[in-house]
């Protein structure tokens, strides 16, 4: 136990700092670190190295090598740098390597050295070259700031959404600033630069001089400046050997420390953590490392070899040729437990557990002590928390064991914090493994979230581990396993040496129909790699046709797309493809395609009916669909044409079409319609009034009503109106006119083909009982009863019915016997019925 705090160094009264080894790296560095441009990504990210021949003017013909290593020194990529001189390297939040060239171009590479894209920092830099560049991270993403040869700054706050901002000029700036940095305040990026004894703050509108409060006098130059990870604090190293620490707003001073070294430090970074007790800065010279805070003494370390500092959320990573270490302020929980002679509940609990394992009764004593103070829950909590901050699994285990031991004596201790810590530690230990090389601390991991960690694993192509983690944490498939499988598949399709069939099969075997996996996305990636055939194969696995169609169209497989769209049942999709086809094919081919797709065809027809009538006609023509063509022209004769001649012409075309369709009935009917139209026109001319568009029946009726009997009869003959209709027609018309004499004459003109019952009916409808009775007598025997009932002669109806001995008629009459006077009639019928039954 005593040795556990051996690497703890106190700074001031309250805080301890410790440095421990993450990995003993064994990377095969070809160059010294000092000769390289170095970039290490935060959150245990990868390290990029690029030899800089440009500075030393040494054999410019030799191309440097860009190397990328994991934090544990495993090589990830290595390739010859063939582009222009690089000023600065940096990692974006998505772990893309940004290489800022002297000419202002920024090349973006993936973790595995795959070129992604490039962009430029503007035209101005082309002339003036880039002197210096910084890559920085804000809540909006990763930004790039450059200093040009004209001593102007340009920055872009987010390289994902590139917007260049040229910062205002610093008045009277002749020389290169001695140091500069990016501050991020109030959601905007500013630049702080030091020129001689002066400090300037550049925002995008103005340049203002600033002075840090309480700075020791005699400063003639600032040698180094550092901003904390969260942009809250600023440290300045002056040529007097003072280190000033304060808020980034430069409004408040925290402390100042005189280190008595005037040599410019190689690096200076903040070393603090959320809720730090002490705010400290780590300063590195060639062979010396100093931790400085608000304390009279500093902590000093000796550096054996060239080292490089990487600021992290809760500490500093320091790596050199042979080792990779982490320096941080000891977290509160650990401090409480491990501090020498600590009586904190957690410390006691840890002791108790150890004694318990030794089977010593002391365990009970310790436990009692905690319980008497009622601090057992805190003790357990402390142990759990401290376990999170330990790097070594053995120590994690013993702390967790203590926590678990303590938990036994508690009634209601919610188990989730313990369980979650165990899970988190398993994940952390897994990714910290040498082969994976992501040395995340617990706080970093919580800040990063599991989703981002999974993304980073995917980025490193560590698919199996990512899936294991998802399964271990029981993440929902859509967020977890499926997402990773989809990424894997997208990577898989890029393997050009494997045949399409094998890739497709391999992907399908792995993915099956895992929910949330979009085959179309994978296919799109395959198409992006120029593997159209593979894309089509993959699309076959896509269950949603809607997703297949857009890609198929993009790949110019329109006909296949049309089939898929029709399968999907989504008419909008079909329509999309149709319009695509319409533009892609010539008209003839387009129509031919439609011909084989009835659903698409009917859809297109519907559209044409409203929007493109001519196309509709062409469609019918092409199919030799004369029937529809005829209908089309008939419709046109009503809708499009106003003049009679035009209408007749349209009808003529229709009739021709009907003949071609072998629909003689329709053709004849159309011809009749033409004749009728012409005739109606003539009638209108000669007689006035409205005839057009009446039916034949109505035309004749109108003529009769207008007293044009002769013409009416002529028309009836011309159009061969059947007798029955003509009689009905005349009967109704004459009754309407109340020409009863004429009607009677008509009724006697010959034997009525419709019988005389209609006469009775119609007269009754006109409420002419007198006339009705005339005809009632002439009604044939079958309908006599009905007729008599119609005119209201119930008694006689009864007589006839009795005479007919017809049961149905009898009941009909009986149902009409409702009036008071019908009593005797009803009796009569009843008697007749009884008689009939007797027989």
């Amino acid at each position: 136990m005593d040795c556990y705090t051996a690497n703890w160094n106190p700074l001031g009264d309250s805080a301890f700092y410790r440095k421990y080894e993450l990995y003993s790296v064994d990377w095969d560095l070809k160059e010294d670190l000092r000769d390289c441009l170095v970039a290490a990504a935060p959150y245990g990210g990868p390290i990029a190295l690029l030899r800089t021949p440009w500075r030393k003017e040494k054999a410019p013909s030799v191309r440097p090598v860009l190397e990328i290593y994991s934090a544990s020194g495993m090589p990830l990529a290595s390739f010859l740098w063939k582009s222009g001189p690089v000023v600065s390297l940096g990692w974006s939040a998505e772990e893309e390597l940004l290489c800022v060239q002297e000419d202002g171009a920024v090349l973006v590479y993936g973790l595995h050295g795959d070129f992604r894209r490039h962009f430029s920092m503007g035209n101005e830099v082309l002339q003036n070259r880039v002197l210096d560049a910084r890559i920085f991270h804000t809540e909006f993403g990763s930004g790039v700031a450059i200093l040009t040869g004209a001593h102007r700054f340009t920055l872009s706050a987010n390289v994902g959404d590139l917007k260049l901002r040229r910062m205002p000029e610093v008045p009277g700036l002749q020389n290169v600033p001695s140091c500069w940095t990016i501050l991020c305040q109030e959601r905007a990026a500013h630049i702080l630069l030091a020129v001689g004894p002066d400090l300037y703050l550049l925002d995008h509108a103005a340049c203002s001089a600033v002075t840090p409060p309480g700075l020791a006098p005699g400063v003639s130059s600032f040698l180094q400046m550092a901003v904390s990870f969260t942009y809250r604090h600023l440290a300045l190293f002056t040529d007097t050997g003072h280190i000033w620490m304060g808020t980034a707003s430069l409004k408040e001073k925290l402390c100042e420390f005189n280190c008595n070294i005037r040599a410019p430090p190689k690096q200076m970074v903040w070393c603090s953590r959320p809720r730090s007790k002490e705010r400290a800065v780590v300063v590195a010279w060639e062979r010396r490392l100093m931790v400085v805070g608000d304390a009279p003494e500093s902590i000093q370390f000796v550096l054996d070899e060239d080292s490089y500092l990487v600021p992290e959320l809760d500490g500093v990573r320091i790596f050199s040729r042979s080792s990779h270490e982490f320096l941080h302020e000891v977290p509160v929980a650990s401090e409480e437990i491990f501090k020498i002679a600590s009586m904190a509940p957690g410390a006691l609990l840890l002791e108790a557990q150890k004694e318990y394992e030794k089977e010593s009764q002391k365990a009970d004593e310790y436990l009692r002590e905690i319980q008497e103070l009622g601090q057992l829950p805190q003790a357990v909590q402390q142990c759990i928390e401290a376990a999170g901050h330990e790097h070594c699994p053995d120590m994690q285990k013993s702390l967790l064991r203590a926590a678990s031991f303590g938990k036994c004596f508690l009634d209601r201790f919610p188990p989730d914090s313990f369980v979650r810590m165990c899970q988190d530690l398993r994940v952390l230990n897994a990714v910290r493994d040498y082969h994976i090389g992501i040395p995340l601390t617990y706080s970093q991991y919580k800040q990063l979230t599991i989703q981002v960690l999974l993304d980073r694993l995917v980025l490193r192509r560590l698919y199996p581990l990512a899936i294991q983690i998802c399964e271990y944490l029981r993440l929902p498939e859509v967020q977890g396993v499926s997402r990773i499988l989809a990424h894997w598949a997208c990577y898989k399709v890029q393997q050009k040496d494997v045949s399409d069939e094998d890739v497709a099969r391999a992907i399908n075997q792995k993915l099956g129909d895992t929910p949330g996996v979009s085959y179309s996305d994978i296919a799109a990636r395959a198409y992006g790699c120029g593997r159209t055939e593979l894309a089509i194969k993959l699309l076959e696995y896509e269950p949603r046709s809607g997703e297949q169609v857009p890609l198929l169209l993009k790949m110019k497989r329109s006909k296949l797309a049309l089939n898929k769209a029709i399968e999907s049942g989504d008419t909008d999709l079909v329509f999309t493809v149709l319009l695509h086809l319409k533009n892609e094919l010539n008209r003839g081919d387009f129509f031919m395609t439609l011909r084989n797709q009835p659903i698409a065809l009917s859809l297109y027809r519907q559209y044409c009916k409203h929007q493109e009538l001519e196309t509709l006609k062409d469609l019918y023509n092409q199919d030799d669909n004369h029937q529809e063509l005829g209908s089309f022209h008939i419709r046109a004769s009503y809708a499009a044409e106003e003049r009679i001649e035009g209408r007749v012409a349209a009808l003529q075309t229709a009739a021709d079409a009907f003949y071609k369709a072998k629909n003689e009935f329709a053709a004849k009917a159309t011809e009749d319609q033409m004749r009728l139209l012409r005739l109606q026109r003539r009638l209108e001319d000669e007689l006035g009034g409205q005839f057009l568009d009446l039916s034949l029946h109505d035309t004749v009726t109108t003529l009769i009503l207008g007293g044009q009997n002769k013409r009416a009869e002529q028309l009836a003959r011309d159009f061969r109106i059947p007798d029955k209709r003509l009689w009905w027609l005349k009967l109704t018309a004459l009754a309407d006119l109340e020409e009863w004499e004429e009607l009677e004459k008509f009724s006697k003109s010959k034997k009525s083909p419709i019988g005389y019952l209609p006469f009775v009916e119609i007269c009754m409808k006109q409420h002419n009982k007198y006339e009705a009775k005339k005809y009632a007598s002439r009604v044939g025997p079958e309908q006599k009863v009905k007729a008599l009932l119609l005119v209201g002669d119930v008694a006689q109806a009864a007589d006839v019915a009795i005479e007919h001995r017809n049961e149905a008629e009898l009941s009909l009459v009986l149902s009409h016997c409702t009036g008071a006077t019908d009593g005797p009639t009803a009796d009569k019928i009843q008697r007749a019925r009884a008689q009939a039954q007797k027989k």
């Binding site: 049942g569 909008d572 329509f575 319009l579 929007q611 159309t670 059947p722």
Partner: protein, 614 residues
């Protein structure tokens, strides 16, 4: 008299949630266009909208004036115009005209088009072609299910029928699938699915795909509705073509029920104003008579009137306190009942007057003759006379179709002569109507091959049934025939009646057609539910020439409670009639089921015919 439900009948799910959902979504869409705006509503959407959100609600969300989308010029002076329309090209033209007129006048306003229930790509295309795509913003109001009654959901898409069954346009099927998906997310998935018809099959498949795409969240929901039955309208045109004689159907045939309410004109109200009346289960009087055969309704109403009188009479001989009680508690209810009673009595009178005028008895007699297949000649001459007398173009057409379907098409001579007569009576433009009817299979000519039908029946007696089946299959592939007569025999649609059919105490679903005919659609549903599959119905399905499109899809799940297994959702694709609802409600009472109906629209014979007319 009105049959109560069996005590063990399951409770219906509460569908008012659908209304609330639709209303909230509409409000959200309106709020997307902040500030005062004028709202242009398509005529077809007015009644449904009325059921969802009142004018005052619209006003609350800064709708200033309401206009109807029609061909008249627009006088709106508002700076923001909002259009609430069905996705039709015609409407797009209207909007385009309006916007372009504004542009010419140098006027800029904000335009927003809300499509209900969804937008179609074709519509956006038209907007683009008219050059105003950038000027308007488009949105969707996914309002596809309107609960018209406690057991009736309507999509209010009457055009579904024509679009699908005549034009072969499948665009609405997706809408149906989405509507079902909405239902299943709210009330749980449907473990047992059955269906008949091409459209039924497609809807079911699309809906299934939607369900599968959904991630697990809704899957665990307990199914409230145990069965779903999809049915295409073209499987049974006959029922839809018959005159309706149950009260609700008759009211629909006579006055047209529109979106669950009816306009009773002066002749009903016996005053000079007309009244819009909501017809649903909340109307106590209506609820008791809606499913009754019309011949019972009068008797019931007069009994009711007597009861009412007795209730009123009770107040005689009351002391002050009782009177106070009576006035404060019962009187209002009685008054309400009184009002409803007089309303329905008025409606009955009006129906009687209209029906006797048109010789309703003769008409019904002819229909029954057609259904039973006797005296075809006589019926044909009746139809001829009907046409000659110009009784009504729609009615004549309906009878012709009924004749055609029951007889497997008209014999060529009748086909020609009836059509000629019809054209002479009602105008030559109906040539197009006939072409439509023929395409939809409603009015066809007996193919010369029908001579084979006689042969076929002879052959079938000679060879084994199986072989005969094959032969018939070969025949039926020649032309889609209704085979009504054979189906009727197989399913026993014409009940054999000994003596009078007592309409007061119905024995079977035939009561909705005076005991003459069991609706085919309802009979199929009954049979399938009984067997829980199509087993044993192969012959019927084959006769319907629908073998590929009869399906069952049973999910084995223990989750379905016995309660839910007695709730059945029937989806009518292409519309259903009130008679069918009555028949199934009757079936439900007999068997202890409750039916829920989802239809693309309520329909009847006249609406079917109008949809086919030009």
């Amino acid at each position: 008299m009105a049959f109560p439900h069996r005590p063990d009948a399951p409770e219906l799910p509460d569908f008012s949630m659908l209304k609330r959902l639709a209303r909230d979504q509409l409000i959200y869409l309106l709020e997307q266009l902040p500030g005062k705006k004028d709202l242009f509503i398509e005529a077809d959407l007015m009644s449904p909208l009325d059921r969802i959100a009142s004018v005052s609600i619209l006003k609350q969300h800064e709708v200033d004036k309401l206009y109807k989308v029609e061909s008249k010029p627009v006088l709106s002076s508002s700076e923001q115009l909002c259009f609430l329309v069905r996705p039709r090209i015609k409407n797009m033209r209207y909007i385009a005209n309006l916007v372009n007129t504004d542009k010419l006048a140098g006027r800029t306003r904000k335009y927003k088009v809300i499509f209900s229930p969804q937008k179609f790509y074709a519509c956006e295309m038209v907007l683009e072609e008219e050059g105003i795509y950038g000027d308007v913003s488009c949105d969707e109001w996914a309002f596809s299910l309107l609960p018209l009654d406690v057991d009736l959901l309507s999509m209010e898409l009457p055009e579904f029928f024509r679009d699908y069954f005549l034009e072969g346009d499948q665009r609405w099927i997706n809408t149906v699938a989405h509507a079902l998906h909405l239902l299943s997310t709210l009330y749980g998935s449907f473990p047992n699915c059955y269906g008949l018809g091409r459209c039924a099959k497609m809807s079911h498949e699309l809906w299934r795909t939607l369900e599968e795409e959904e991630d697990g969240e809704t899957k665990g929901r307990k199914a409230e509705i145990g069965h779903i039955f999809f049915l295409d309208r073209d499987m049974d045109f006959v029922t839809a073509l018959c005159s309706q004689v149950v009260y609700e159907g008759l009211v629909d045939d006579t006055f047209r029920i529109k979106c669950g309410s009816v306009d009773f004109g002066p002749e009903v109200m016996s005053s000079d104003r007309s009244l819009k009346v909501l017809l649903n289960a909340e109307d106590k009087v209506f609820n008791e008579i809606r499913n009754e055969h019309f011949s019972n309704v009068f008797g019931f109403l007069s009994q009711k009137a007597r009861n009412l009188q007795a209730q009123y009479d009770r107040r005689r001989g009351m002391d002050i306190k009782q009177m106070k009680n009576f006035v404060s508690q019962e009187l209002k209810g009685l008054k309400q009942e009184h009002r409803l009673l007089s309303l329905h009595i008025g409606a009955c009178e009006s129906i009687m007057k209209k029906k006797t005028k048109q010789d309703f008895q003769e008409l019904i007699k002819t229909e029954h003759a057609l259904l039973e297949g006797f005296n075809i000649r006589e019926s044909t001459s009746y139809i001829e006379e009907h046409i000659d007398r110009q009784v009504s173009p729609i009615e004549s057409l309906r009878l012709m179709c009924l004749l055609s379907i029951t007889e497997n098409g008209l014999i060529p001579k009748d086909y020609r002569s009836l059509k000629t007569q019809y054209l002479q009576s009602y105008g030559p433009e109906h040539l197009l109507t006939f072409s439509n009817l023929r395409r939809a299979g409603l009015l066809t000519e007996q193919a010369p091959g029908d001579a084979l039908t006689a042969m076929e029946s002879k052959v079938s007696k000679l060879v084994t049934d199986k072989a005969a089946g094959k032969i018939t299959d070969a025949f039926s592939s020649l032309a889609k025939r209704s085979n009504f007569r054979a189906i009727s025999k197989k399913l026993n649609l014409i009940p054999r009646v000994d003596g009078e059919y007592d309409l007061k105490v119905p024995r079977d679903m035939a009561y909705v057609f005076s005991g003459a005919y069991v609706p085919l659609s309802c009979r199929i549903i009954e049979q399938v539910l009984e067997r829980r599959s199509w087993q044993g119905l192969d012959e019927v399905v084959r006769l319907l020439t629908c073998s590929e499109f009869a399906f069952t899809d049973i999910t084995k799940e223990d989750k379905a409670s016995s309660e839910s297994l007695r709730l059945i959702l029937v989806v009518f694709l292409g519309g259903c009639t009130f008679s069918e609802l009555s028949a199934l409600r009757f079936l439900g009472r007999e068997k202890g089921y409750r039916f829920i109906f989802l239809t693309t629209a309520m329909t009847n014979s006249a609406r079917l015919m109008e949809a086919m007319s030009e």
